[in-house]
Homo-oligomer: 532 residues x 2
Amino acid sequence: MKYIRYLIMFTLSALCGAATDVTTVEKWGVFELEFKGPAEGNPFLEVRFGAVFTDGASTVVVPGFYDGDGVYKVRFSPGSTGDWRYETKSNRWELTGKLGKFTATPPGSGNHGPVHVQNTFHFAYADGTPFKQIGTTIYNWTDTPEELQEETLRTLAAAPFNKARMLLTPQPTPYQNRFSPARWPYAGSPPHAWDYARFNPDYFRHIDARVVQLRELGIEADVILFNPYGKFGFETMDAAGDERYVRYVVARLGAYRNIWWSLANEYDFLRTKTDDDWNRLGTLVQQCDPHQHLRSIHNGSIIFDHNKPWITHVSMQNGAAVEEPGRAEMYRGVWRKPVVYDEVKYEGVTQYRWGNLTGQEMVHRFWSGTVAGTYVGHGDYFSTVTEDTWTSFGGKLSGQSAPRLAFLRTILEQSPAQGIDPIDKWQEVNTGGVPGLYYLTYFGHSTPTEWSLKLFKNGVSDGQRYQAEIIDTWAMTITPVEGEFVTKKLDNYHYVDVAGRVVKLSGKPGIAVRVRRIGQDGKPAANVLPND
Amino acid sequence: MKYIRYLIMFTLSALCGAATDVTTVEKWGVFELEFKGPAEGNPFLEVRFGAVFTDGASTVVVPGFYDGDGVYKVRFSPGSTGDWRYETKSNRWELTGKLGKFTATPPGSGNHGPVHVQNTFHFAYADGTPFKQIGTTIYNWTDTPEELQEETLRTLAAAPFNKARMLLTPQPTPYQNRFSPARWPYAGSPPHAWDYARFNPDYFRHIDARVVQLRELGIEADVILFNPYGKFGFETMDAAGDERYVRYVVARLGAYRNIWWSLANEYDFLRTKTDDDWNRLGTLVQQCDPHQHLRSIHNGSIIFDHNKPWITHVSMQNGAAVEEPGRAEMYRGVWRKPVVYDEVKYEGVTQYRWGNLTGQEMVHRFWSGTVAGTYVGHGDYFSTVTEDTWTSFGGKLSGQSAPRLAFLRTILEQSPAQGIDPIDKWQEVNTGGVPGLYYLTYFGHSTPTEWSLKLFKNGVSDGQRYQAEIIDTWAMTITPVEGEFVTKKLDNYHYVDVAGRVVKLSGKPGIAVRVRRIGQDGKPAANVLPND
């Protein structure tokens, strides 16, 4: 808090003076300032540095960071186009009162801005483009040999995932007996001889670069600040060490638009921190991040109080909760925030029961979460000995789910922008969509041999026209049902097809039906209600 | 708040003086004081009255109430045996400084004290006796003709229920076209001409009496303070009216040990109050009830934030949540408080889909909730026209579930005192119990034809001896499996029977298996771990 307050105490009057530098950066890109400053003593502790940016309409106080060798940086991601001016602030005169300006230009192709919460339960990029989360997990990928990291990026480029969960500090695993991480987050040496008051800029420069590479692949980096696995000491620093770490990480990474903050993985397995500690640190992230990225905390077996105001969405571990849609909906209603089932067990073959899902079951869990109005994360864990798995270290995918998740992603990208919500909560749990417009019914493990139209009354009236398609979630086929369905009222709750048409199904598991309203142009509607 | 503070301002010095009255009352019984005082003006608004009770060890400030005709009362339920002294407090001299004493004697048969939360997810009476909730719902029973109320009491006397949910203020229904409630909570006349500053003591004396009758039947009275159905205006009073009502009700009823406070039914259907209003009123109940009864709030379709400190347990409406145990567990973990699924749809035949459960399905929902470590409530709604149903008005039960719930109650009363908890959360959702001691597995709608022992590792080691029984939840039979099961380790997670015994099941739905550890005496253990 002190640091932020310190910066705010400066006046903005100097911003009217002459600027010293002019350049351009994309809206939601990264504008980086670099200055030489003191290198003596411990700059991480002793030098406060940052800048105030304004475009006249808004003023943003942005903390900077020390990048080693007497170099100080501040990174800012402008949220609007046009001219911006800045003035640096510091407790050292040589870093104080540096003035400048730049111009934020319209975002380039593929730049939709940071992701935020939209419509209570969903996500969208800042430019309004819906973000339909298909996540994966690659905890330690940035600690592996360079060659493996490059392979991971190649795999991601061909994979369906648009969010990746990754640890920010290393954890030891059997696979690491074959290599030692090339960099560590603090000055010192492994396993325990760290100076928690001196970050290792090289370590974080590497993270910076990887985050940018994910960004260029269209992947959100769900960066996990604390984890209980490390046993290197990063998880048991004192309160001052934790705060310094949070401030440093947020200052370094916060300007990358694809950052999400995950405060901890399996927070409850880290016995040295209490709920109060997590709330203090989560609130700190909220306060010191001028870019206001998404914030969550991920559980082991004890569920956090996600009503806390610093939490933007729920990052849930509970595989049982996505075994069927009726369960998946339940947490959603509790917190009235987006729910991402980030850990639902992993597709794999392993001695651990949390890593033994078949590809079919992984795909099933994504679909169960989807029709319940929630989002799901993937893991791939095919190793019983060294644990050199995708989900631990990246590399190659071994499972069969990824192509089916790509198929699901296509379905989602064709779904209404506002998101899929339960149509008739606590009643017909297998159907999500938008009333009177779009319905996605998923039969899960059941194997019906026929289907007929039956829509809950909300948004429906007599004489509406719908088109239906049969989706095989495993075979990745979409088979249109010939002709149209026309609604007529059945009873106080439902509408059915006026002709009573019955459609044959294959009798296989993993079948879904997509029902879309037909607009005046005779085509199925997606994002806008057709004119009746 | 003002009232309570006013009372506290008095000193206790006078309590050392001579007492004016001596009597006895059971611990957890009701000690009632009555005084004549001013009848002019509006005593409900103008006279503050109460008493301070002390047994030397604890001091309890108890608000009193005006009972009409110049009569003032204060009711206190002593929580410990021995000698108690009191001194009245008032803003009128004639009601001030009345001294007295009484002796609290040991509780009589059937008096276990008030129910409180125990072991995070469960309930117990104050004397430690477990309270295994089997609830029912009789919303308007106190508004019906006397004869019907008497029939309701006779029905309850023969029914399995140990908690009844009831509205404290009337709601109109089609059935009421045949009669008008004999009493109303306020002075004035229906439907809307009420003086919200003048309670009708006769109305509340009637409630007092009915609560006492429930108590004598061993039934907790889950009294619902506000409801959205009335349309008589009691649900749309101003903040001062709400507060006056809460204080009056708590002062009158709080000394009855079987009281539970339910702040509202379907709180979210009452559009004139916000979450802040409910939290203010819930906190008021917490603050002005010296007897600290259980407190909850019941939802319609929007789930309340049950983390609020004034809420002691979750009173949930969500029928879908008890369709299977995996769902039922989910809310439990969210709030780490007892979950009572008070409304899971009603057994009945009606035009409404919330009242169409078969008896089998009602029993199934109780069992699903039970093995998930939660509690369930019953409703009985057999009427399509006048709605003169058990759940609205009492009278007779029409459904088939009640005898099966009596059977379940017996099972619960034989279960461990600490309560049934999920044995292997998020993994084997159909089994609840106490690790290494007691296991209750419920197969629900599935119809297995055989069963064999498989216990999660917690609390289990090689060579433990268990006895098994097959329970038919609908036929109400308990069939012992001959012989014993002896454990041996199967893998990292489970133990099985050393002899690999397989038990035939009937292949019917609604079957459960009860597995109990055999103690040194050769009998199945229930409440204490046998010596190994």
